[in-house]
Symmetry: C2
Subunit: 461 residues, 2 copies
């Protein structure tokens, strides 16, 4: 029996223990965006330090001005490649809580028509995913006493809240984090039987804006008409960002957007994406993005603008004829290709200012700003990882785009001068960022086995 | 000394007691729109029944499916005119609470550069105003043992929440409420030295709408582009209701809107309304209503559309790249002349439905729907009340429009076949519906004296 086969067997034999460990981590309410959960984030970081240490990693919690970082190292030999694995232990908020069928931080294994699932906030994004890698390391250590490659793991706790500490931490710890290549497990499979390697990630620009009109809330009977209503101003500004064909109207917005190569387009077309099924699963039927593009192209190769939240005036029970003093929105752009996030942020702010009536002012609170990342899928490591995935899943792994934004991949490139190999085991119906998030038990188990194989494949550099 | 003079002296001599009584009423948290304050509304109704009874009224609380009504009668003689006085004891919600300088239900008398003010939620709208009438009745009873006219008082507790019980109650109690004419004290003065009689009230159509897109909240990275965002749909729908000149674009919306007569226009022009001061007091400088109309015309003779509240997606601390399942708004139209509220409600709903993309649906929750009311200002009672006001304030009382909506005036006309004389003592800076609501002590005191005079003036029918 090969050493790899022994490692895979060890993973199979220890599934229950692995699940128990994941449940411990899922119970910690590490919502990074809400300051009342600060201590839960610290607990999650400490849990990871302890767990890594139990495998033999030299692991430590690194406190920041935000939530702590966790870095662990396990040396295999100076002749071996060195890989940096990134994941995040923080999770999204859980509201609206009333739409959850179970408590979000009481993880449960549930039977569903599509197999067993792990139900909890963070099950898929990203605690379940990062633990596939940790469990793969554990199995290698159990069986062979060491890992086939040198590994540095790097977990952050601010991924869901704009990662304010990430760039300074990386800049101050280049030596600690520098390796030959990065591995990231925060993406999805093509379908439940087909693993995927990401070819690119969309970038992001996030802004919160508040339009201020009258200096106090007014009675619409007394002032309705002559007094400007900031909700009306906000509606008009936000409505003006898309034209009727779904294109974004900001000046120069599409600078740096390129069409995918013919080869990539053919590859995507060959996937025979089930558009009706993809949209139908969330109650929709018609692609709402730019006309002339397939659903996959809209997600994988086109930039977008979305309002993620809006509020103003009276929103409680009943009715109040108020003419409010201010109105706010949280918005985000997803970027592709070489779109410049800083330029787009400035263009957006200027567009808003240009639209303001004389009596209104605006404040901005900038969140994320990161460019899209395109992966070097022709590099040899990508081919080896691809082969390992094909073997585990007994199916051809696909090179897929990704509509999400994982800014750390850009920082890894910019600050650490490393490419990233993105492999993840999420499914489209995982409901990440939504009530009733889940992670397929199969994703957790075969994801762990996949990493065990990839580590083996990458050892022969 | 005339009997009227004795009554006025009695009012002057009992100011402190009158204020104590008002403070008792202001302490009751009778927010009608929020179901957690149901018992406070009942307490306010009971307080009024007791107070009216102490004057000699035959008063009772009438329970409804909503908040109770209070009706009290004091007979003067069958040869005297019979007047119905209407007021409301419920108040607006107090949010945002952090903008109040004192607790909204702990009334206080404050010195300000413009004189003493009574500071509390409901001080002006409408508890302070209705108590001017009650105190005038008390003084008449004190001094002469009876009132100069037959009075029925009628207080409701749902004016700030759409008055759901009002029409059925009035329809079922026509005999109890029927009189020769109605008096309503829920409006303002022209300025702090100039009393006003209202010539018309704007009507209202209120709607809450919810746009539903995807069947669950989505991750904008995974679905941003092909999935329709209901906030975007809502923004576009609401932004489309005004054109660039401030006119409302709904089909047939201006049917029934007439320009004021030349006489009225001249009267309004002669008021020399301080537009800069009116807008400047709330931090604005430029009239935002339809171009081509003065501020007074925009408020007193033009219909409007306002969004009173909007919400959708993630609105908490931090950032969440959610693509929400739904988005909602509370909106209202103010109507003038003969605009048909039901037709406008239907036109609005149809407009929204016509704008909906294929994958969105909408639900409506209709609130108020009332037509505008135009007063018979040439009737003799109006002339007598006008003279009484001129005498009390030693200044020419003005016939003024009113931008607000007091639906009960329409119901009094339709159900009880009576005209209404609207006299009120509010000031523009009372901050009704806003934090730090106040009522000038002078309004309270001279308002009471004004009603004492008007009752006397109307006795000689």
């Amino acid at each position: 029996m090969s050493q790899l086969q022994a490692v895979l067997n060890d993973i199979d034999n220890n599934q229950e223990l692995a699940l128990e460990r994941l449940f411990e981590l899922l119970k910690l309410q590490s919502i990074s965006t809400d300051s009342q959960y600060v201590q839960e984030c610290v607990k999650a970081a400490d849990w990871l330090v302890n767990d890594l240490s139990s495998i033999g990693f030299d692991a430590a919690r690194h406190d920041t001005t935000g939530h702590p970082m966790v870095v662990g190292k396990l040396h295999a030999g100076s002749d071996k490649p060195h890989l940096l694995f990134y994941g995040h232990y923080d999770v999204q908020p859980v509201d609206p809580l009333n739409l959850w069928n179970n408590a979000p931080f009481e993880p449960a294994l549930e039977n569903t028509p599509n197999g067993k699932v792990i139900r909890a906030r963070g099950a898929a994004d990203d605690k379940g995913q990062l633990m596939t890698f940790v469990e793969a390391c554990r199995a290698w250590k159990n069986v062979s006493g060491s890992l086939p490659v040198n590994i540095t793991v790097f977990f952050e706790g601010e991924e869901e809240s704009g990662s304010p500490s990430l760039i300074p931490f990386m800049q101050n710890h280049v030596d600690l984090l520098k390796a030959d290549m990065a591995l990231v497990c925060d993406t999805g499979m093509w379908d439940s039987n087909t693993p995927a390697i990401s070819t690119m990630l969309r970038g992001m620009v996030g802004e919160q804006l508040t339009i201020i009109g009258p200096s106090l809330d007014l009675h619409s009977g007394m002032y309705g008409g002559p007094a400007i209503n900031p909700i009306r101003v906000l509606n008009k500004i936000l409505a003006g960002i898309h034209d009727d064909s779904g294109r974004i109207t900001l000046d120069g917005f599409y600078d740096g957007v390129t069409e995918p190569t013919e080869q990539i387009k053919q590859q995507w077309a060959a996937l025979n994406h089930d558009e009706a099924g993809f949209l139908g699963s969330v109650g929709l039927s018609k692609p709402a993005g730019e006309s002339g593009y397939s659903v996959l192209e809209q997600i994988w190769s086109r930039p977008t603008f979305d309002v993620n939240g809006i509020w103003g005036g009276y929103t409680g029970e009943g009715f109040k004829t108020v003419l409010p003093s201010e109105a706010s929105a949280k918005v985000s752009f997803r970027l592709v290709g070489k779109q410049d996030p800083i330029k787009i942020q400035q263009t957006f702010q200027q567009y808003v200012r240009d639209q303001l009536p004389e009596d209104c002012s605006v404040t901005f609170h900038s969140k994320d700003a990161s460019a899209a990342t395109v992966m070097p899928i022709n590099a040899p490591e990508f081919g080896r990882a691809h082969a390992a995935l094909c073997e585990e899943w007994e199916n051809d792994a696909v090179y897929a785009g990704c509509g999400g934004s994982i800014p750390v991949v850009g920082h890894i490139k910019d600050i650490l001068a490393m490419d990233s190999l993105l492999v993840g085991f999420g499914q489209d119906d995982d409901a990440i960022h939504s009530p009733n998030e889940k992670y397929d038990l199969k994703s957790f188990h075969k994801g762990t086995r996949s990493w065990a194989r990839i580590l083996d494949a990458l050892a022969t550099s």
